[in-house]
Amino acid sequence: MEGFEFIIDREVAMVSQTIRSMLTSPGGFSESKDGVVTFPDISTTILEKICQYFYWSLQYSRGKETEFHIEPELTLELMMAANYLHT
């Protein structure tokens, strides 16, 4: 969905393999230079959930093992987005 912007920590974003390779790939792509990645196919709600997942995942690997709740209505799209983002 157009127009929404999420600003997150770089390290957090790197949880996604796709984003990681976008940000670190050589070749002078705008993503790596500006640090801006656009996902026209992913809706806002889903993207928000994904960002929440990134933070949760980082906390988990640092020891804080909690549960990540997903609203059922989001799951299908979330699953597809997660598949796309390799996360």
Partner: protein, 741 residues
Amino acid sequence: MTMLRSREISSASGKPRPKRQSSDIIQPSTPARKQEPGAHSLDGSSPPTNTFRRRSPCLESLNGFTDKEVSISVCSKRKSNVGERFLSLRSGKKVAKRCDGIEASGSEIDTRKSDVDLGSEGKKVCVDLVEEETNIVSKELDNSGDNALVRRIVNEEKGKTVMDEVEDSCQVKDVEMKCVEGCEKLSSSVSRRKYTREEKAKGIQVVNLSPPITRVGVEEMEIDNSIDIQNPPEASVTESAVNDALNQNGNGSRNQHFRDFAEKNASRFARFDAEMEEEEELSDEEVEQQVEDWPGPFSTAMKIMKDREENTILHDGIPFSSDIERTSPIIWAPRRSDSFTSPPRAPSLQELSMRVLVKNADAITSLDYVPDALRVKLCQLLCDSRRMDVHFLDLLVRGSPTGICVPDCSWLTEEQFTQCFNNCDTSNLMVLQLDQCGRCMPDYVLPSTLARSPKNLPMLSSLSLSGACRLSDVGLRALVSVAPAITSINLSQCSLLTSSSIDMLSDSLGSVLRELYLNECQSIDLNLILTALKKFEKLEVLSLVDLPSVRGRLLREFVTARGEALKQLILTYSVKLTDSSVKDISENCPNLSVLDLANVCKLTDCSLGYLANGCQALEKLIFCRNSFSDEAVAAFVETSGGSLVELSLNNVKKVGHNTALALAKLSEKLQILDVSWCRDMSDNALGYIVDSCSSLKVLKVFGCTQITDAFVRGHSNPNVKILGLKMDPFLDQLTKNLADS
């Protein structure tokens, strides 16, 4: 004949004598020394030789046979020393056990003789013809040389010498009965036998042996000194050389002496004969095969390993015990600190969302835009948790799907099936998997559903109907007639199918089919489908699990015809196959990358040899309950295991440290390793493997009760998943493809 030999020596003894004595002086501290038999030498040198034993006379002068003195008389004196190291032969002679640095009496002789015998440096057990030697020697001082020579020769022939420092020439030619000199009749039989043993013996002589054995006598020089044991002619060369020399010799009395001696000892040799002959008969086939096959890297590797083993064994002086640590050369220390444990990895979002989806599958209203891969995974999870139902199947079938994969259709009824597939648009369907559909797929439902129109499945390339136990030849024909492009068909456990189905398949799909799975199709007789099988031009995968009709001859026919293109051959439970089948496979299937020989119990180490020499591209190799030896598996891995990605040694009980070493050395690509029930794999061995195989992802150790925390917590490979430890859950790991997890 001995006479000849003795002549040689005596003539030669003139020259070397001075040298000999100097060498006596020079090396007083070395143990056994060889002395040239000769009256003088014996007299003069007996005492020194008795006390000193040269370690490796051969080393001193590689080719200076004349320099070497063969001491024969030392026997009695040395008896005590070597007593414990000698085994008693039936004949009452003592045979020296192999031990480094030990030269039993006549060992030097043996070492030298060993060359003569076959140019083989083998381990030679020194036959310590103690009393007799000395007696004879002392009795006949004049001809002592001769006798000594005979004796020596006898010794050498009979004995395996220990080439101590020299890397043991691993050819275990047990008793070298090659009485080249003397004992003519015996010698011929013996040498003949020797050869077959040589031939049988795995492989060429260890090349790393520098020809350490010095030659005794001219005839020895003439004899091929090379490390080429596979030369039967050698014996004859030797013999002829000897004979020539003999003829030159005019000393009839010596000849007579030797003859007497030979006759005296004939019976003793005869006993050995029986022993060896027995063994020969048993391995006749092996012999033939060995003779045919030029020994390659596999046999060399095996040889090296075997000798290494025996080296260790004899060095310790005790037989191989179950204490693997003791003989294991692996040094691996578990890491001390915990600094390396990987942090807990959060489950992926995809996984999390799938879990939720599976729980709420009935709430899903559409699977549009969901890629096939995700659909497949979802299906799998649903089937596993028994939540798969018609509703979801409807979702899958909706639209114009490209893939419908339901790994478990046991819940599906005939009516449901008919309803679902009645109007299913299958024009784009490429993959159809309806496993365990026995309940819902009798013949009569097909014409109204999947086979309802002549071009109903035009794009179908992969069809899996395993477990379709109500499907008969008629139904299959109906289905295949509407799907002309099938490249992979799985008809496992379709018990009603007969050979006419395969005929039909070969007629319709002969030019396109690449994969054929006929596991457990009880009504299909390989005999009858052989012709049909040969018609498949592009067959790459053939799976014949648990088909009793799979026999060596049939397999041979098939692989000779179509082996070139074969990439995967699954022959689990084909219990009638033997080594010759593996030979056929290795000769005809150079591109084989997956081979499954689990539970083919009749295979022996030869199979590994054939595979090593033939199939160089193996990536997945499954063994289970095959009785291979540790050395054979290790040799196989060393010679052609470099491309292995998945290896199963489940219940190949003898694997141990040799295999571990080989795996660690050469398997960078190895990802999945199964050593379940291999109780000889110690913590050290496994730790070594796991730390060295950087790509290893899964290690299965079911039944390996010998593993301790030292390995489990002490290894340094962050990626490996260890399955099968006591009390560890593993059911969730039983996915189709472990490497994916």
